[in-house]
Amino acid sequence: MSLTSSELWPYLVLVLAGFLPNEVWRWLGFALARGVDEGSEILVWVRAVATSVLAAVIAKLIFFAPGALASVPLSVRLVAIVAGFAGFIVFRRSVFAGVATGEAFLIVGALIFPT
């Protein structure tokens, strides 16, 4: 492999594995939006599937934590996400309160129960 192609390879991978598989959904949404009625039944189902996919991604980030987050015990990660959700509910559905409560539980929990 020549020097130029080996230098460009990571950027080609970025486009092939990062940009295109992600962007294609935006293009698809762009194309579909032209004919979609906002209140249609299919959109209710598509939104439910999207919500489930996002929820599954969230749960996987907690159970199979990436990088440094894996150094925090699973039990602490689970308590922190539940506490964050509870904080969101208690403090009048505030996103900031939910994030702050979750983070506080994660940091305090990790300090009390180090791996």
């Binding site: 990571p10 991978v13 970025l14 486009v15 092939l16 594995a17 990062g18 940009f19 598989p21 992600n22 962007e23 294609v24 959904w25 935006r26 698809l28 949404g29 579909l32 939006a33 979609v36 906002e38 959109l43 209710v44 189902w45 598509v46 939104r47 439910a48 599937v49 999207a50 919500t51 489930s52 996919v53 996002l54 929820a55 599954a56 991604v57 969230i58 749960a59 996987k60 980030l61 907690i62 159970f63 199979f64 990436p66 990088g67 440094a68 925090v72 990660r77 922190a80 996400i81 959700f85 969101f88 559905r93 996103v95 939910g98 994030v99 979750g102 983070e103 994660l106 940091i107 300090l111």
Partner: protein, 248 residues
């Protein structure tokens, strides 16, 4: 210039530039600018840990513009996965963008809107931008919504780009617990923001089913677990919603 405004419009801007600046301001005032800053410090640090270059990770923020997809991309490639495996994992996490774009476009589109003007907002669509634009854009005249949405998104992207660079340089000096706390920002902020936007039973059911099915399928080593969790959870939630609607 004074002009009559329909009663439903809470605020208006004199021109497109003012609407764009208004969007930038809305971004700076929202919690997401700070959540994104924290998230992208984590992403910059993760990229450093896996030996990606600064230019590469900065470009990934501009081109991919989706936190979870970037975390997945960096950790799968960094962990030695094949390009195809990484692409499939990223593609599955990106599915959620499609219905966001589908529901956002009709709000931004006016009778005089050209199709190409919607391309940039479509690329900018991500959880944070979608949540704030869906909430604020309907409160202004339709011709101001595209520059406003672009303003919000640029504000978020500036925050994310600065944080990507900062995280990359800080990575070596950050305590492990601090990096862990930054990586935790993505799941916790996404969870509470989808919960805030789930006003209907079908969305709440879909969220709970996805949270349960995702890890269950992953622990059972089912291939394409996230996609099946999404289709299964979403369809089940939709069916329950239809059965209940049928009874009423």
């Amino acid at each position: 210039m004074v002009r009559a405004m329909p009663a439903s419009h809470t605020f208006d801007f004199p021109n497109g530039t003012a609407a764009y600046l208004g969007g930038l301001r809305a971004a700076a005032l929202s919690v997401f600018a700070y959540v994104l800053f924290g998230t992208y410090i984590g992403i910059g640090a993760l990229a450093y840990d896996f030996n990606f270059s600064l230019v590469w990770v900065t470009l990934s923020t501009l081109l991919v513009w989706a936190g979870p997809a970037q975390v997945i991309l960096i950790s799968t490639l960094g962990g030695g996965a094949q390009v195809v495996e990484a692409a499939i994992a990223v593609g599955l996490s990106g599915v959620r963008l499609m219905p966001m774009v589908v529901s956002l476009m009709p709000i931004l589109r006016g009778p005089k809107t050209r199709l190409h003007q919607l391309l940039l907002p479509a690329h900018f669509t991500a959880v944070s931008m979608w949540v704030e634009t869906m909430r604020l854009a309907p409160q202004m005249p339709v011709e101001r919504r595209i520059p406003f949405a672009n303003g919000i998104a640029t504000g978020y992207m500036i925050s994310a780009l600065i944080a990507t660079v900062a995280g990359y340089y800080l990575a070596a000096r950050l305590p492990v617990l601090f990096t862990a706390a930054l990586l935790f920002l993505t799941p916790i902020s996404f969870l509470v923001s989808i919960a805030r936007n789930s006003n209907f039973l079908v969305d709440r059911l879909a969220m709970v089913l996805g949270l349960v099915l995702g890890p269950v399928l992953a622990y059972r080593n089912i291939e394409l677990d996230v996609m099946w969790a999404g289709i299964g959870g979403g369809t089940l939630a939709y069916l329950i919603h239809r059965i209940r609607a049928g009874w009423q």
